[in-house]
């Protein structure tokens, strides 16, 4: 698999991360590190599509990365409209693609 987390030999700041933990995206188990946002953890796993649009069902992912564009919305533990670029990923979190407004996923 593609190695998208910065490799130690390229990391000028030499960051030490805490122990990896699992969370799920669309039922698939994905590994993340403490402090990572949902968006970063998904990108690191090679996942770029976080939601599909209301009208045309087009795929969208991380765009502005700083909480302004609302393109990276995902469903987190049954709650839609969570900004993947801002929300920190937690152990055993259940993340799903948000379809449209996410109404159909509410509470599921």
């Amino acid at each position: 698999m593609k190695q998208l987390r910065v490799r130690p030999e390229c990391d000028t700041a030499q960051v030490e991360r805490g122990p990896a933990f699992p969370f799920t995206f669309e039922g698939q188990s994905i590994s993340a590190y403490p402090g990572e946002t949902i968006g970063a953890a998904l990108m690191a796993a090679g996942i770029l599509t976080f939601r599909t649009t209301r009208r045309q069902g087009r795929p969208r992912g991380l765009f502005c990365g700083i909480g302004l564009c609302f393109d990276c919305l995902v469903v987190v533990d049954g709650i839609p409209n969570q900004q993947a670029c801002l929300v920190a990923v937690k152990p055993d979190m259940r993340v799903q693609v948000q379809t449209g407004t996410g109404e159909d996923t509410y509470g599921n």
Binding site: V6, E36, M43
Partner: protein, 472 residues
Amino acid sequence: METEVAIVGAGPAGLSAAVAASEAGCRVTIVDAYALPGGQYYKQMPGEFHPRRPETLYHDFSQAQQLFAKLDDHARVQVLSGTTVWTVQAASTPGDPVTLYLNTGAGSVGLRAEKVILAPGAYDRVLPFPGWDLPGVMTMGAAQTLVKSQRVLPGLRVVLSGSGPFLLPVAAGLAQAGAQVVAVYEATTPLQWARHAPRVWNHWDKLREGGDYVQLLRKQGVPLQFGRAVIRASGDERVQRVTVARLSADWQPIAGSEEQREVDAVCIGYGFVPSLELSSLLGCTHRYDPVQATFVVQHDADMQSSRAGVFVAGEITGIGGSAVAMPQGTLAGLAVARQLGRLSESAAQRKMAPYRKALRHRQAFAVLLQYLFRLRPGWLSWMTPETLVCRCEEVPFQQIEAAIKDDHARDVKTVKALTRCGMGLCQGRVCGPSVAAITAALTGQDPAQLGALMGRPIVKPITLGALCDTSH
């Protein structure tokens, strides 16, 4: 809640303002949307990350460290992180306290402040082109945040396209972090800059900073190409290739110059757009700056806006980066302290003098950069009829064209009403400047007269649940 000085934004401007005001004896509350203070420029890594060499994180690490240290020292400064201002209530009598309504994530709470300093910063300007909505296409800021604070690459084969000095540190950061930077495309050319060369006299420090990045790119084998831009991105469900074209002086693609590049990430940034949501809502006077192609907040020499008691600092006064934002923040902080009676007129003037001088010097350079990297109108021709302009509401260019040509919309608000441009969750932050530029171009009017997609009573989306759960 109550405070003497409320500061919105914990970037270089807001932090500088907080330090100045609190050192003069004011009680300060900083409201910031992110988990940790620093803004975009001094964005901090999550607390769970432990960098063994933190000094490599910022170009001016010692300055950042000083700022954070001073903040920690002051018992009079309260930082509300992870908190957004979702609306404001302006004072009915000028100079009276202003109430900011905060979304803390656990409900809405009012913050009544004697004085307000707005330092909300700016965000990337992205020009629409076919395929810019594909996953894998993102702003320069997104890429930088991913790499710098999350230590994740946006892709393995990356191109950067845009204009302005920000391209260089982002490209250098990506290359250093192990991404293959296929190319950096700067839409302007050194030839266009050449006749302004005398104006860089005395700004060697800034030139050296740029030179350092260029050298780093050269060392990493990253091609830096001028007068070119990514004008199309394509791929199946995610970006797989881009079309790059040579541009004429006004950014029209030159026929026959197109070439394809295989990539898995594209970073776009044509400078920055100031965050004018709160200044609009508070009724501050704005002026249109044709060089920056955006409105900016007007202010006096003490950084006070047209509304008494509402001060501004940093990017919302015009894009100038941290070098401008910090002295502006300090001036705003000192001016607030004087208004609150914590500094005498003479003491305030004495403290302000060196910052005014630094500001004049740095602003001269910022204005030069704004001019050299200004948008050229040819970008409008990158769009096809189907290219989305408003990503949230999925409004294509042809629909805006129809609103103007067939339905005779003459200003931005009418275009919005007819097409739903800017009615989505981003509230026009992303498409607003493009919609204004398209409307100006198609109606042949001066953008200064068209208005902007600003001034919403609700500044940031908030859930009904959070609204109902108000704590007073």
